[in-house]
């Protein structure tokens, strides 16, 4: 369906390019991205740097 939409848009007119609007995919990726950010902040800054005996040399 996405292909059809894209093909349709390109053959139809140039201004219709943004007709293909995968808002669901964008939302999903945004959610994954936020999870990734939070996980990284937790793992690196809280779990790793917050532990005792940080190796400094």
């Amino acid at each position: 369906m996405g292909q059809n939409q894209a093909a349709h848009a390109s053959s139809d007119d140039v201004s219709g390019e943004e007709e293909f609007d995968p808002i669901g995919t964008l939302t999903l990726i945004a959610i994954y991205f936020v999870i990734l950010l939070l996980a990284w902040v937790y793992i690196y800054y809280i779990e790793f740097l917050g532990r005792d005996l940080v190796v400094v040399g």
Binding site: E17, E18, T25, L49, D52, V55, G57
Partner: protein, 171 residues
């Protein structure tokens, strides 16, 4: 070439993520001073540790103002000295070697963790915080008694550390 607006968005987001990852590792190295286990120590003869200045008598020594070194020998199945006693709020450098097979040196629940290879000296420097008793475990399978190979790293108050050491000298 036309790139969809959303595609630009998640390209930008992934570049941002990469910069964040590199940035936080750089911050860790520059800010808190996180470092790797040093590989600069020259090799030693694992069969002759009893003739080595540092390892013939595994011990903790003061080398500077609030700086200490701990010479530790790992063996099947334990660590010497046991326990390793170091003062609180100090900088401690562990020199760890093995007299038999490959061992691990992991202060449980902390970032102090290195492999211990016979003939090589693993050097890690850590900053101690408040008084605490840490477990010390071997995390490389080293033989039938691997699961019982453990030690202790005791971070004690300065007074207690001095007392122990002066007591040791008198004895």
């Amino acid at each position: 070439m036309h790139i969809h607006a959303y595609e630009k968005l998640w390209l930008a987001a992934s570049i941002l993520l990469i910069l964040l990852l590199i940035g936080s590792v750089t911050y860790g190295a520059v800010g808190p001073g996180v470092a790797m286990v040093s590989d600069s120590e020259p090799p030693i003869d694992a069969q002759a540790l009893d003739e080595d200045d540092r390892f013939s008598e595994p011990r903790v020594e003061q080398v500077g103002d609030n700086e200490y070194v701990a010479y530790v020998v790992a063996y099947q199945f334990g660590f010497e000295p046991s326990p390793i006693v170091v003062p609180e709020n100090s900088t401690v450098t562990f020199y760890v070697t093995s007299r038999d097979v490959i061992h691990g040196f992991e202060v449980a629940g902390t970032n102090a963790n290195t492999m211990v290879v016979p003939g090589e000296v693993s050097k890690i420097t850590v900053k101690t915080d408040d008084r605490q008793e840490y477990g010390l475990i071997c995390n490389e399978y080293c033989g039938a008694g691997h699961h019982v190979m453990e030690g202790k790293v005791n971070v004690v108050s300065q007074a207690e550390f001095d007392e122990r050491n002066s007591g040791g000298d008198d004895a």
